[in-house]
Amino acid sequence: MKELNQVLDPKTEDGRSYYLHLKKGDMPGYVIIPGSPERTAKIASNWENVEDVAHNRHYISKKGTYQGMEQGTTSTGIGGLSAEICINELKKAGVHTVLRVGSTGCIDENFENGDLLIPVSCISRDGSAECYVDPEYPSFADPIMVMALCEACERLGYKYGLALEYTAGSFYLGQGRPLSEEPDSYWPSWAKDILPDIEQMGVKVLEMDTAGQFVIGYLHGVRIAAILSVVAARKKNNFAYNNGEEKACLAASEALKILREWDDQGKFRGNTNGIRN
């Protein structure tokens, strides 16, 4: 056991975690983590008995019940670093299962804005995972959670796909977006190759958060997966929501309910000890 002090594990004066303002037991074990603070309200709109648990900076935490099951939600903010803080403090609050709900760009023409993609594994160029472990460490979703997400989409009748995801710790240049229309704006030769190269690798979706969350979540010993709604169809250069966010939020709550049922039944338990604590 490692001894943690105020510097290593900072707390507020009343003993809550430094950024999320949570105490152990404040949140249910199963938590949905959107990037955007506003999306916590959309997630909670599918629940009953919603309670505001904490709010500091962009970290909003709520809990409620979805079809009888207690669930929580905490917003991570944008990027791997902000999510690292969130995952660390959720784990300390007693959370064991986290499910990211996000939005994404898509480079597969079979999917439109509003469709759902479930990342199976990621190319991790987010910048935070590399502070934890060698670059060759795999970024992958918990396979049982992926199965629960697929099942949830099928029950809800939502079109979905499984995807290799590319996480860039950059929204503009790192995802192949020119900085501006000015001819002299920074645009190195390799920037134009980002999208064609990842397409060659079989990548379907690209965004800013998932890969680092997977690596950091796994190393914290929490179960983690994600469901992403397409907002930027990059091949057609369309940007639109088309209700994808709402669908992803509902699919996430449904998936956690399915997972909870499997956990209660002991399904896959005892055989997944390699990827569990």
Partner: protein, 277 residues
């Protein structure tokens, strides 16, 4: 008749691929991949009507039937580089689904000799795959394959563990084995504490091929998976096959049977909409 011309970029010998000495359509599209040629002989304990199709260098290919289903096995040799050649040429002769059947050294005390590991993702160090993709590219099996391997283990009554393994392209120093007993031998600190570092990163076993085979298979658009048996435990010092090779071969054969049964199968049992990555 003069020998048919052959391109330097895709060499052939009498119409057969250069290293494997097979021709298009000569083998089942379902191929098991041991490293060791010996396994291509032992498989006749499990398959019926086993016959040799080709044998050149370390690549021995046999065909046979399991529960009435025709399948093939080709030995890859040791390490990613001969496996790269093997996967490329298997794809050219019509393979579409490959399962590595191999061994791994456990770095967790509770994994016993002969126990089965189904890797859900791999960390990697070195290998031919470094010529294909960046270090951050994830090494993961096809999710359908993982599901079929789990189902196969359950049907056969074998205990199995899902987990992260690390593939290392060096058996001796790279896997933390001193060159010899002399303390002056080359043995840098990073290799001395390798096992401890990997344990801390929640890795459960090490091997010499799986990560690279999964990625190169993926890039060749093959459906890839792996099933490994524990043949050594680096914590307890235990050493030996203990029936693991045969179990891994039975599981892989059974998984092929399951996959053939559900060719266009969805990830979960019901519904539609599943799109393969």
């Amino acid at each position: 008749m003069a020998e048919k011309g052959s391109k330097a970029t895709a060499p052939t010998v009498s119409g057969k691929v250069y290293h494997l000495r097979l021709e298009q359509g000569e083998i089942s599209p379902y191929v098991l991949l041991p490293g060791d040629q010996g396994v291509t002989y032992h498989i006749s304990d499990i398959w019926k009507d086993v016959k040799e199709l080709a044998y050149n260098r370390e690549y021995r290919t046999v065909a046979g039937t399991y529960e009435g289903i025709t399948m093939a096995m080709t030995s890859t040799g040791i390490g990613d580089q001969p496996a790269e050649i093997c996967l490329n040429e298997l794809k050219k002769v019509g393979a579409h689904t490959c399962i590595k059947v191999g061994t791994a050294e456990a770095i967790r005390e509770d994994l016993e000799l002969g126990d089965i590991i189904i890797p859900v993702a791999c960390m990697r160090k070195g290998g031919a795959v470094t010529h294909y993709v960046r270090p951050e590219f994830p090494a993961v099996p096809d999710l359908h394959m993982t599901k079929a391997l789990i189902e196969a283990c359950e049907k056969l009554g074998y205990k199995y563990t899902l987990g992260v393994i690390c593939t290392i392209s060096s058996y001796y120093v790279g896997q933390g084995r001193p060159i010899g007993g002399d303390e002056k031998n080359y043995f840098p600190a990073g290799n001395r504490d390798l096992i401890e570092r990997l344990q801390n990163a929640r890795v459960i076993a090490i091997d010499t091929e799986t990560a690279g085979e999964l990625i190169m298979g993926y890039l060749h658009k093959l459906k890839m998976g792996a099933v490994l048996s524990v043949n050594a435990n680096r914590i307890t010092g235990a050493w030996g096959d203990n029936g693991g090779e045969e179990k891994a071969c039975r599981i892989a054969s059974e998984a092929v049977r399951i996959l053939q049964k559900t060719v266009s199968g969805n990830l979960s049992e019901q519904g539609t909409g599943f799109v393969r990555i």
